[in-house]
Symmetry: D2
Subunit: 334 residues, 4 copies
């Protein structure tokens, strides 16, 4: 199947290209960014002698001629304009931005007015372990945020066992690639090297995303208190979920039962690390309990499971392919 990548300049665009080059079912026929002036090899020097494609200035009609499915690796707000046009032209869309992840009301509260109220209703949230049935028939996938992916996979199996009304705390750590390739003070090497700090504590847009998905999937409401941190590394994401259980239950068993058939979830009996998931689509999980205090620990590659490889899994599912087709399980990483 012919696919397009819109937004090829950033980190997630590059990862999409790298996964799709070797994918047995998808064939990249169109690559675009906002300027469209270079060969993809000049945009990403690591692709020299690997792929030889001119980058286009993104144009929905050209996409529709070239491809049946488009990946949008665009900033929120830009994405919805493209998605709308593409869907109307009959192109399936996997959107990596936030534009179709939330209920309209939640979106407009935390982001901006929404310009595609028609399609937002039909989008499917692309967390395959929880939405695989809906994904089979979807035309528009909202690829989850990186933090919500890691947090929900850790937290959802335990929601029924958590004391109602208690606070849930999430302390998350991410490599800097989540902040993008643009030049910013927080990702200046002189700032981040040998450093670590929280940012937007209790005030990050992924917090309402986590709250809303819990409510929709479990019909329970919890206050999620989310504090993300920046790590002095390039990629990888580690999440600590802390909660108060109703009873002193067998927490390992709950995880095992929930994920025994999941291709890309691995349960660990020691705390998870970044190195084991870096470069792959795996989410590694570990759980521990101290009386009624719960600690669930997850690790993903923020650019892959947190963005591009999960997007390709979603593309596999909406196209009727196997979930794992062309998805990286091993990597040549530090």
């Amino acid at each position: 199947m012919n696919v397009a990548i819109i937004g090829a300049s950033g980190y997630t665009g590059l990862e999409l290209i790298k996964i799709l080059i070797n994918h047995p079912k998808f064939n990249i026929t169109y690559i675009a960014n906002s300027t469209g002036e270079e060969n993809v090899q000049d945009l990403h020097p690591c692709l020299k002698d690997v792929i030889d494609v001119e980058v286009q200035k993104a144009d929905a009609k050209e996409v529709a001629k070239a491809a049946d499915l488009a990946f949008l690796a665009l900033p929120h707000k830009t994405a919805m304009f493209f998605a709308k046009e593409l869907l109307d032209l009959g192109v399936k869309v996997v959107d990596l931005s936030a534009d179709y992840r939330l209920e309209l009301e939640t979106y407009e509260k935390h982001y901006c007015p929404h310009e595609d109220k028609e399609h937002i209703k039909d989008s499917v949230y692309g967390l395959p372990e929880y939405y695989s049935e809906d994904l089979k028939n979807a035309k528009l996938v909202a690829n989850p945020g990186c933090f919500p992916t890691a947090a929900l996979l850790a937290l959802l199996p335990f929601i029924d066992y958590i004391e109602e009304g208690s606070q849930i705390f999430i302390d998350a750590k991410t490599g800097m690639s989540g902040a993008g390739k643009g030049l910013k003070e927080v990702t200046h090497f002189g700032h981040l090297n040998e450093n670590c700090h929280a940012y937007n504590p209790f005030n990050h847009r992924h917090m309402p995303e986590i709250e809303e998905k819990i409510q929709k999937l479990t019909n329970k409401e919890f206050q999620i208190n989310f504090v993300p941190h920046l790590l002095p590394i390039t990629r990888g994401m580690l999440v600590s979920v802390f909660a108060t259980l109703k009873d002193e239950i067998d927490v390992e068993k709950i995880l095992e039962d929930r994920y025994k058939d999941s291709e890309f979830i691995r349960l660990r009996n020691t705390p998870v690390d970044l190195k084991s998931t870096a470069g792959t689509n795996f989410c590694d999980l570990y759980v521990s309990r101290n009386g009624k205090a719960l600690f669930v620990n997850s690790s993903i590659d923020n650019l892959l499971r947190g963005a591009s490889s999960q997007a390709v899994v979603n593309a596999n599912l909406i196209c009727g392919f196997e979930e794992y087709e062309g998805i990286p399980k091993i990597a040549y990483v530090p």
Copy 2:
């Protein structure tokens, strides 16, 4: 005043030497490690042309001849034998190990049988912001653990406002120097670089230390749920304290009131980072609230405020000097 450093080979021993070289009141007259075969310049190449002292094989009687106060930078269990002998010889002791930090019972439960039941009763816990009066008359200081230092300074001001019976969660991150200079798999560069993971979740010896000090200082009992992480950096420590408040109080004011006279506490209005405290004795604090959910965030240099510079502050106090004499407030760090 003449001072001895016992245990000069490790990271905290080196930091003690560096601080004391420039201290206006203390004079290093004796440096020892377990072998005693080198000049200190060979042990620590950065000290070449800075200090020229032969390292002794540690001997308490020689210490007593050479010095009035000894810093013990030794493993727990080894420390108590030296401390006992030194105290009986009239030498004041600042012990950086765990041997005198806890009540006898707590110690023996989490460490090993104690061999100096006489002096453990009289030791003072060297957290200056909370024990300054006791320290003035102390002969034996138990220098706090690095995690308890950062956690207690963040948590103690809020204990009275936390919902009784609720769980307190602490997610802590430390540079690898806390694991020492010995060769271990977790501190192999190939393991730790571009990595991050929890270790001993809910099962670290600093957890009962935090619980006991809260109980002793506030007469309240809380279950502390402590999860430390290893960061891919050499030094620095970042702590997130999460708790549930009784009411939606003014959390900034509580911190300001508590620490307005503290020489080495700085309140920040953005999340704290490692870079601002690295190489100094400062503890930086930040606090945030989400309804009744509390986040207190502290940063220290794990080898200085978490060990060696706090030890020298304690030495200043038990000797009647000013708290800040010779204590680093700025550093030439990355």
Copy 3:
């Protein structure tokens, strides 16, 4: 074709496994290390749910039953004993150690007495760009050292143009994985992080390897002055070759002519970096001239082109497959 990997515990063993899992022509049928007590998933946690093979205690006769070709990722001296036995049993060998790289005399001068004088004569030095014809008929490949790979690919095209009798200087920088997974002081995170230094200047075993190959391939003798450095990163290798030319020639053209048909050599018009080759078999080259002063600059992944992926290229060649079959050209790296 069935293949065995002997020496699966180290970094190069792991990389061999990862490449061969996805190789279209080779099938891993035997994995061994010196103890043989674990599943390969326990040896390398990143392989969980990816490959499920019991690691054997290495035994040549068992290898011969299971495989037609063996990769030896063993220390020098250990490797020759295995190679000898395997070759006598009719198994093809790609040896990643130093044991068959040098002429007997050179080997015994810089390493130790050689125990397989029979096969060392017939081994082929596995630098595909210079030995592809010999490799087609080889039964024993000596996979080049990492530094010689990067240095020879940069230097060999210019040998005829360098002033006779002049000194050639090579300043090389490598990630720490070249020093192996064993615990050593130089690869302790506390030593290497935020650090960089030379080691074995003018005295590294790869120096005679470079000198000998130049002499054998060009019939010219030059004194190679080689200084390797350790970089505070996990993988990647960067080499600066400095030499004095006879004349002010067109150095770019020489490189282009030499490598225009080479699948895994990329010529760059700016200095090469580590990131573009990390995780791949590419060697990137750049050249610059200042009057008669020459600078040739190469970058490889020390574990892949400097070891495991070059080994699989060599295996492809001796088995009559295409050079590039199953060889990584892109990677999911920081």
Copy 4:
């Protein structure tokens, strides 16, 4: 003595402040940058509760009222306008820019037209080991570039022994702080982390600076072939000098004889590393020989010996103080 720091926003400005705060003879009375709108604590959060000074918008007349000596941590071209005005007002100047380092002709060839032809003639090149006599009477010091400092200290002792007409190669590696605090692609964490590469090979402005100083100090002309590299660390600089000797001389003795009285030069018998000099004014040196091939290896802290601490040493000398007054010899670094 009252001193001013002009250009307080960058890395070298911060280091000047940190050194001068604790200096026994100098007293900071004026701090300026180009905007002059903040307290120095807001400019550099690590200075909170350490120094409380309003940053001024730089004005030469105000400087002359407040101070007898000014440190200029400004970009080249900006510096000369300030220096000129300050010198005419009777203020001594230590200029950290390139503006007074070179002969007029060399300067204008490699930088831009010079606007202070009067004072450039009288400036003294602030490399204390070679210009201490001239510095005693100087009113204007041109603080050397970071690379020239490390390269000249390594190379100058050997110039008389190097084969005339032979090429001298310098392979240098620097932490990224040399590239400044401004946001640039090369110092984006995503670019530099786990990376390393050369830049401006044979084409860096420090190359003519090294050549000119050798010629002026030794009356010999050599072609210096200089290739700098960026390391994935914040601070530190490592230099490899490669040259061809006339004879197989005792190279260690030459270094020892030359530097036996130098306060801030340390000779090492193993290759130098970055960690031993980081945070100090020391230059560590090591030398090795392979026949007639010479390798001299130097390490400095690029922001201290390569800029700010060397500037304060120069200020000490022109003010008649001891060279080592207030100069850091130890540091609390990773």
